[in-house]
């Protein structure tokens, strides 16, 4: 549905987006990650046709955003950053206005407004002025505006920013539900959101795509992916570490806590990621042989925030292989 090719955007001498290409199909939810100022919002603004690109092509559906802006915009619902809305209107007036610009007239308009009021839980505030709404309601209002025409493409710039945990949960569920039939792009700072909602994620930094893949793929790039964490009681820490490091697939075993106490926590790093399986069975054998009292043992999945940090701030390496 969305195809972005070699997209570039400069603001004076500053390159905001540099040669970015990706595509999003129906049924996909693409998470856009990146530090502030990485070019996420700029990219989204170009896809929605708000600002023109300096170079490259964007098509939505089969429509080029530059050559057929109106046809392309018809397919898109857009929730801009900070969820702007006209503060001097009531919720009902605002949604009617949005519906009218989307081409709904008469009864169709009333239906469309009613539908999004229900979907976005705005029933309590329909006749309230936008001025008087809390941030959460304003967010939902702007979100309601973006889905009023049941668009095939939905683009959301930080849709859960400033919401309380319950509202975040609601919005995520809504996105996931709509992602079944639509092509969705959303940007966020919250990494757990990407894991919870996205089918695919792109990390963008200083205008270029630095990583892309499913959330699981990305997590596997973390240094901690495949690391075995093990808690043993009743033994000295040095002894445990030594025995573990003697195993063939083990690169090193690091003490993670419990030094000097009776419960020792050790993290065991495999020599390479392919040896994860061997590592697990080797450690299990060791435990059985030595009759250690193991309180807990699990393989770590890797953490997205580590990957994110190590990719976007390479100087403070957390470690990605």
């Amino acid at each position: 549905m969305i195809k972005v090719e070699n997209l570039t955007r400069t603001f004076g001498p500053k390159v905001a987006v540099n040669n970015v290409s990706f595509s999003v199909g129906r049924g996909e939810i693409l998470g856009f990650l990146g530090p502030n100022g990485a070019g996420k919002s700029t990219t989204m603004r170009m896809i929605t046709g708000f600002i023109p690109p300096t170079g490259g092509r964007i098509s939505v559906g089969d429509h080029d955003i530059i050559e057929e802006p109106i046809a392309a915009k018809r397919l898109v619902g857009y929730l801009p950053e900070n969820a702007p809305s006209y503060t001097d209107m009531t919720v009902w007036q605002f949604l009617n206005f949005a519906a009218e610009l989307r081409g709904f007239r008469g009864a169709a308009r009333a239906d469309a407004v009613k539908r999004v009021v229900d979907t976005c839980f705005l029933n309590n505030v329909v006749h309230q002025s936008v001025d008087t709404l809390s941030k959460g309601y304003r967010h939902r209002l702007c979100f309601a505006q973006s889905i009023i025409h049941d668009p095939q493409v939905l683009i959301m710039d930080e849709p859960t920013d400033g919401l309380d945990p319950n509202q975040k949960h609601e919005v995520r569920n809504l996105i996931r539900r709509m992602g079944e039939k639509k092509a969705i792009i959303f940007s966020t700072h919250i990494l757990e959101e990407v894991e919870a909602v996205c089918t695919r994620a792109i990390i963008i930094d200083r205008g270029t795509i630095v990583a892309s893949g499913t959330p699981a793929d990305l997590k596997a790039r973390s240094e901690n992916a495949g690391v075995l964490s093990i808690r043993v009681s009743g033994l000295a820490s040095d002894q445990i570490r030594q025995k573990l490091e003697d195993l063939a697939p083990v690169k090193r075993a690091a003490l993670a806590g419990g030094e000097g106490s009776s419960l020792v926590h050790v993290r065991v790093y495999p020599k390479s990621r392919e040896q994860n399986g061997e590592l697990r069975s080797a450690v299990a054998d060791l435990v059985a042989r030595e009759r250690w009292r193991v309180e807990e043992m699990h393989a770590e999945e890797g953490r997205l925030d580590e990957v994110f940090r190590s990719i976007t701030m390479p100087d403070t390496r957390v470690g990605v292989r």
């Binding site: 004076g12 603004r45 708000f50 023109p52 109106i70 018809r74 857009y78 009218e100 610009l101």
Partner: protein, 248 residues
């Protein structure tokens, strides 16, 4: 075309709603009417003239509009930029010119309403004497066109900045130029410098020159062209400003 009209109407309607949902519109109307009354009856010497016409009423309009029209129009685009709603509006499936036209039409209608509410002056003059109502209608028409020209200028300055105060001041300055270039003291000065061509050129740029005819009941084609050109040019420039702003 039907669709374009629908979009323009939707935007104009929204703009009118936002005028009347705050006290701004009512404050504006009251001030406009009070000042009109004051200038017509006190400063303009409506009664002392002993003349069954609304000259004393219309003569102040270029000066009244100088402050009141920018005040009514300064928020048109700057507010849109400040709130960030411009991003919403311009990502809707509409052409930018439809948004510009819609907003302009709404404000112009609002100014038209303010002008219509001065009808007691018209009743007064008809009660006291028997004026030529054709001339008065012509004066109203000219006044409305002049308000449109000022408004288009305000539209343009409003698109330049997110700050309403700056938009207001810049439009007042531009409108002041359009008044002064045809203001008798200035034209007389140019005349005394023996530069008739420059005087005529300067005067032809002025709203004063063109509004003058309407007050006297003359609808000159060149005046229609003048007001039409100012409105068209300023709205076109608004579009260019909005585009360059987005293009960075």
């Amino acid at each position: 075309m039907n669709e374009a009209l629908g979009n323009i109407t939707a935007i104009a309607k929204r703009e009118l709603v936002s005028y009347f949902s705050s006290p701004v519109a009512y404050v504006f109307l009251v001030i406009f009417l009070l000042m009109n009354g004051f200038f017509t009856f006190m400063a303009g010497g409506f009664f002392e003239r002993g003349d069954a016409s609304l000259i004393a009423f219309f003569i102040w309009h270029p000066w009244l509009y100088l402050f009141l029209v920018p005040a009514a129009g300064m928020r048109l685009w700057s507010e849109e930029r400040r709130l960030g709603t411009m991003e919403l509006l311009l990502t809707m499936p509409i052409a930018p010119w439809q948004a510009i036209a819609g907003k302009f039409v709404a404000s112009w209608l609002f100014l038209g309403l303010a002008l219509l509410l001065t009808f007691p002056v018209w009743i007064t003059v008809n009660y006291l004497g028997s004026p030529d109502n054709g001339v008065i209608i012509c004066g109203y028409f000219g006044s409305f066109l002049m308000a449109g020209a000022y408004l288009a200028i305000t539209c343009m300055t409003s698109a330049m900045t997110r700050n309403q105060v700056i938009a207001f001041i810049v439009s007042v300055v531009i409108c002041l130029f359009l008044i002064l270039s045809g203001w008798p003291p200035v034209t007389q000065l140019l005349e005394s410098l023996d530069m008739p061509t420059i005087r005529d050129l300067a005067a032809s740029f002025s709203v004063m020159t063109h509004f003058d005819g309407f007050q006297k009941g003359v609808v000159a084609f060149r005046s229609l062209v003048y007001f039409g050109t100012v409105i068209g040019f300023c709205l076109f420039t608004t579009g260019v400003i909005l585009r360059t702003h987005r293009a960075g």
